[in-house]
């Protein structure tokens, strides 16, 4: 699984559920699990929170907001809830770390994701990196 990050395609640095990243990669823990378990996951191996559409990011445990990244899940490209979650994380919760779009993330949606505060985007291994970077600023290059 790959990620468009800082203009380059890199390996997905987190282990998503059921994915094939190395066991040493930090795990992505769904918000639901973080909220339901009494104690947050131990920091070894490292972990990040995965916010799903049904979640309210305001309910994330404080420990999740201290991590370097938060993943936002887009299970289907037509489900727009993740955009509101990104805005909430940036504006209401003041999160300054890396926001990452994972799931059904498509080229023509990258720009709107960028505009709501998302920094990195899941992508295909064979994606054209120049084309993806161009997609980020097709409509509002100055915003």
């Amino acid at each position: 699984m790959k990620l468009l990050r800082n203009g380059e395609i890199v390996d997905m640095p987190w282990r998503l559920q059921g994915a094939d990243e190395p066991a040493t990669a930090p795990i992505a823990v769904p918000q639901m699990q973080l909220v339901q378990s009494e104690t947050p996951p131990p920091s070894n191996p490292a972990w990040v929170a995965l916010v799903e559409p049904e979640d309210d990011p305001v309910e994330l445990p404080a420990s999740a907001l201290e991590r370097d990244a938060i993943l936002i899940d887009f299970p289907s490209f037509t489900d727009g809830r993740g955009y509101s979650h990104a805005r909430t994380l940036r504006h209401e919760l003041g999160y300054r770390g890396e926001l990452v779009a994972v799931g059904d993330v498509r080229r023509d949606q990258l720009e709107f994701m960028r505009l709501v505060g998302i920094d990195s985007y899941q992508c295909e291994a064979d994606a054209d990196v120049d084309d993806l970077n161009a997609a980020l600023t097709e409509l509002r290059p100055d915003a």
Partner: protein
């Protein structure tokens, strides 16, 4: 007249380039069908029975003569010489080949036009009063506010993938001609005691399968907070609107499921956030927009009808009474151009008619015109002294039919003949009613009666809010029509009441005749059809209609 600033033009050009790329990737097989569908929808492109249908935005219904000429040229060059006006004050074409659509977008962008968000689950065209800036009962011109909302809504990054489509209307007059109470969000401009602009906000209105009248969620919202408040409503809807069932996904369902009070609490909580994030209304921008939308009309002498009549005759008088309205400036009137001539499908306009109307708007109405939500056109600022010349020019083009606000000024959806969703023909009902009610004097005697026809329960013909609503349904492969009575889309909006069992296709016009006979026999002097139904319900009609059928 308002023209887009240079940044908006640059944005439109980038959108054309983006769309051209999307079409080319689709034709090259690099974009799958599902994804391309969602992308093309956000540019007004549907696939219909015959070819793609392209819906072009006419923001708040306002067009320049130049823009109308471009719409005419598009119809000639890429379509079959006509366009169809829609109930969101837009225009749609039915025959444009997909591979040509990028060139059409370019032709539109060259005159500051586009098809942005005319379909798809996003914020649609902002609609308003077709008499904006001209009517006597106007408190404030709504168009500057519509434009402010348009700029906010177009390509809003957070709200482009909503649970379902989202429609906003704005009214600035004491009489609501924008049907704000049957919109996802309706705004009514008011002035507070200090004379500042404020908004009454309605939410959760809508037609479709489960019609609802909007509920007032905010009273006298300060203009400063307009966009942050809209953003809060949209955020609550985006997060909590249902996504599991498209028929329950509109905001009206959410508002009703939560109850207004709970929904309001959630919006207020979201508003605490959006207020920090969305800038307050920039009064310099609004003042600039107001200045650009305002027209300065040259002083013209008032000419009473008697004087005009002397040079014309009875047909002119009936057109004057039915198709023109008082203007706020003495010496002027607003002229409705009916696109409901019996010989032509309701709401259709040919290229030649568009060219003529463009020329006449240059000659008589400041080079500007309006599309109405009931599928007609308006020349808003015509000097009274020019009315005979305008009428004379419109007549041969079948554009002076004096049936505005009468029974045959119907809203008619494309129906089974064009639309892939429809269950029954709408155009057949249009033809049938026109054939039955061909005496214009009788139509004038009946007074204001709205008839609206939808070919399926999606209700694009807005039949729920008509005096007489006609809904096409299909039973075992046969077209039937359900009638509703007493609906209304203006202030105090109401959903029509069902008359009874559906009517056979060939009996629809005859049934309307029965209904009107009951009304004519039992009405109080000067009582409107709507008031009559409010007073009596549907019972008197039921007796006549189903007795006749038995």
């Amino acid at each position: 007249m308002y023209h887009y600033p240079v940044e908006e033009r640059a944005l439109l050009q980038r959108r054309v380039d983006q769309f051209r790329g999307q079409v080319s990737r689709y034709l090259d097989g690099k974009l799958d069908e599902d994804e391309f569908k969602q992308l093309r929808l956000r540019n007004g492109l549907y696939v219909q029975r015959h070819a793609p249908m392209l819906r072009v935005a006419i923001p708040y219904g306002v067009l320049s003569s130049t823009q109308l000429r471009t719409l005419a040229d598009i119809a000639t060059k890429w379509d079959r010489g006509f366009g169809h006006m829609t109930t969101r004050q837009n225009i749609q074409y039915n025959w444009i080949p997909l591979e040509d659509t990028p060139d059409v977008m370019q032709a539109l962008a060259d005159v500051d036009m586009h098809a942005i968000q005319t379909s798809g689950n996003c914020i649609r065209n902002i609609t308003t009063d077709p008499l904006a800036g001209a009517s006597r009962d106007e408190l404030e011109d709504p168009r500057p506010w519509c434009e402010l909302i348009r700029q906010w809504a177009n390509f809003h990054p957070e709200f482009n993938w909503l649970p379902r489509k989202f429609k906003i209307a704005v009214s600035g007059a004491s009489h609501d001609r924008a049907a704000v109470e049957v919109h996802d969000i309706g705004l009514r401009i008011k002035h507070n005691a200090k004379g500042d602009t404020v908004f009454d906000v309605y939410v959760g209105g809508g037609l479709g399968r489960t019609p609802h009248i909007g509920k007032q969620i905010a009273h006298a919202l300060p203009a400063d907070d307009l966009l942050s408040y809209l953003e809060a409503i949209l955020r609550v809807y985006n997060r909590h609107g249902r996504r599991d069932n498209m028929y329950k996904a509109r905001i009206k369902i959410l508002v009703n499921a939560l109850g207004l009070a709970t929904f309001q609490e959630q919006v207020d909580a979201a508003w605490q956030q959006t207020r920090q994030q969305v800038p307050t209304t920039d009064h310099a921008t609004v003042a600039d927009l107001k200045a650009q939308f305002a027209v300065t009309l040259p002083a013209r002498d008032a000419v009473p009808l008697d004087a005009l009549q002397a040079e014309t005759g009875d047909a002119f008088t009936s057109w004057y009474k039915q198709n023109t309205q008082a203007h706020k400036s003495p010496g002027y009137r607003s002229v409705f151009i009916s696109l409901k001539h019996p010989g032509q499908p309701a709401g259709d306009i040919t290229s030649a008619q568009m060219q003529l109307v463009a020329d006449l708007s240059d000659q008589f109405s400041q080079g500007e015109l309006r599309a109405t939500h009931d599928q007609n056109l308006v020349l808003a600022h015509v000097a009274e002294a020019d009315l005979p010349a305008l009428w004379t020019a419109l007549g041969p083009a079948k554009l002076a039919y004096a049936n505005i606000n009468t029974l045959t000024d119907m809203i008619v959806c494309p129906g089974l003949d064009f639309c892939s969703l429809a269950n029954a023909s709408s155009i057949a009902i249009w033809d049938q009613i026109n054939a039955t009610f061909d005496n214009i004097d009788y139509l004038h005697d009946l007074g204001r009666i709205t008839v609206r026809v939808s070919g399926c329960m999606n209700a694009c013909g807005h039949h729920h809010v008509a005096d007489i609503g006609v809904l096409g349904v299909e039973k075992k492969g046969v077209e039937w029509y359900q009638l509703t009575l007493g609906g209304r889309s203006t202030e105090g909006a109401r959903i029509g009441k069902r008359l009874g069992p559906a009517i056979a296709k060939d009996r629809v016009a005859a049934t309307v005749e029965d209904i009107l006979a009951v009304f004519a026999e039992q009405r109080e002097p000067d009582e409107s059809f709507n008031a009559f139904v409010e007073r009596n319900g549907v019972t008197p009609f039921k007796e006549r209609v189903y007795e006749a059928a038995a």
